[in-house]
């Protein structure tokens, strides 16, 4: 069990690091540009992109865990992470309809 957890830990660490670095750098440049050219397309793309990357990171983490548990045939935890994914999808659908 310890080995499996270490594999998952490494996988999730990569997802978290990628999300943090990509969103942080896009938002930092976007924020600076917003003071110079507030209405520019580049500013909107960088700020919007940074926010979306950050929003997607926890979802990507749950998806990665779900796939990893499926791969390990740990059905019990695959079920739990699958439910979390479904609840996050429901939030997304709610945001479209409410």
């Amino acid at each position: 069990m310890k080995e499996d957890l270490s594999t998952l830990e490494r996988l999730l660490a990569r997802v978290f690091r990628a999300g943090t670095m990509a969103s942080g750098s896009m938002l930092a440049v976007g924020l600076l540009l917003s003071f110079l050219w507030p209405s520019s397309r580049a500013t909107a793309i960088l700020l919007g992109g940074g926010v979306i990357v950050l929003l997607v990171t926890p979802v990507a983490r749950v998806l990665a865990s779900f796939l990893d548990y499926l791969w390990m045939r740990d059905w019990w935890f695959a079920l739990w992470t699958g439910i979390v994914l479904a609840l996050l999808a429901s939030s997304f659908l709610t945001s479209l309809h409410v």
């Binding site: 490494r10 943090t20 942080g24 990171t57 926890p58 992470t81 979390v84 997304f92 709610t94």
Partner: protein, 277 residues
């Protein structure tokens, strides 16, 4: 709303404090950001909640990235994923609760709960960290990690139903008040569910990203987020999280529990004052 460099700089500074506390205590920092943005910066509540929830996700990802890279296994992934079901369900049903209770009633209830939990944490701050024999059975959801002195620490999780109920409530208030809910989860995990402070803080930081995402998606979809203000808060919390992790290693678990209890009492009084106004 126009985000001036001065407003962005102050928001970034508050974000640093939120990230610092988040990394040390496993809370997202929304309890600091929302009152600042609403009461000091004059930002509408929904926009403040949207910015705060994004900052909570930033704290969660930064702390989890660092904690899962150290090789100390501080995050209990299995327990975190089980509690996340309750927390995500609570977040999704936040809209239902919003129709049943007014914002002021919710703040009063949250304040009262935080005060009771804060006092309980203060009273038990000096207790020994819970641990189990590492050669024995730690259960399906128990954990093992390397502490700050390099020793392996093992623990069993107790009172899981209580953890699930608290996670549901934390998820529920998260969407409505724009906070991560870690401020309630960490004390309950350490005081009643048998988790050592550092493991509870790291596991809570891991969970609050998902808790906040449920609400943040809804606010973002409705166009409530002010991108430049969100960017300032997120950059601040990311920087604060890195500083918080470095500081946390030098503070004893008892010190962290006392700090958590103090933050809980301050937040409780702030919420009660806003709720009873």
């Amino acid at each position: 709303m126009l985000v001036t460099p001065a407003l962005a700089a102050v928001t970034l500074g508050v974000g640093v404090v939120a990230g610092l506390m988040g990394a040390m205590l496993g809370i997202g920092g929304g309890v600091f950001l929302v009152p600042f943005l609403v009461l000091v910066a004059g930002v509408p509540f929904k926009a403040a909640a949207a910015v705060s929830l994004m900052a909570v996700i930033a704290t969660s990802t930064s702390v989890s990235a660092a904690a899962s890279s150290t090789g100390r296994h501080l995050i209990n992934f299995r327990l975190g994923m089980v509690l996340e079901v309750a927390t995500a369900a609570g977040g999704l049903l936040g809209g239902v609760t919003a129709h049943m209770l007014s914002a002021s009633t919710l703040q009063t209830l949250f304040g009262a709960l935080a005060l009771v939990v804060g006092i309980a944490v203060f009273r038990r701050a000096k207790q020994e960290e819970p641990r189990t024999d590492c050669d024995g059975d730690i259960g399906r959801l128990g954990g093992r990690f390397i502490d700050e002195r390099g020793f392996e620490v093992c623990y069993r999780v107790k009172r899981l139903p209580m953890g699930l109920v608290v996670s549901f409530v934390a998820g529920n208030i998260s969407t409505l008040l724009g906070v991560g809910g870690g401020i309630i989860k960490v004390p309950v995990l350490t005081t009643w569910c048998g988790m050592p402070m550092r493991a509870a803080a790291a596991t809570s930081a891991f969970m609050i990203g998902v808790t906040a995402t449920s609400g943040a998606i809804i606010y973002y979809g409705h166009g409530d987020l002010i991108p430049a203000l969100g960017a300032a808060a997120i950059i601040g919390t990311q920087a604060g999280s890195i500083a918080g992790l470095a500081t946390s290693r030098r503070v004893k678990a008892e010190g962290l529990r006392r700090l958590l209890a103090s933050v809980l009492v301050v937040v409780a009084l702030l919420m009660l004052q806003r709720g009873l106004r």
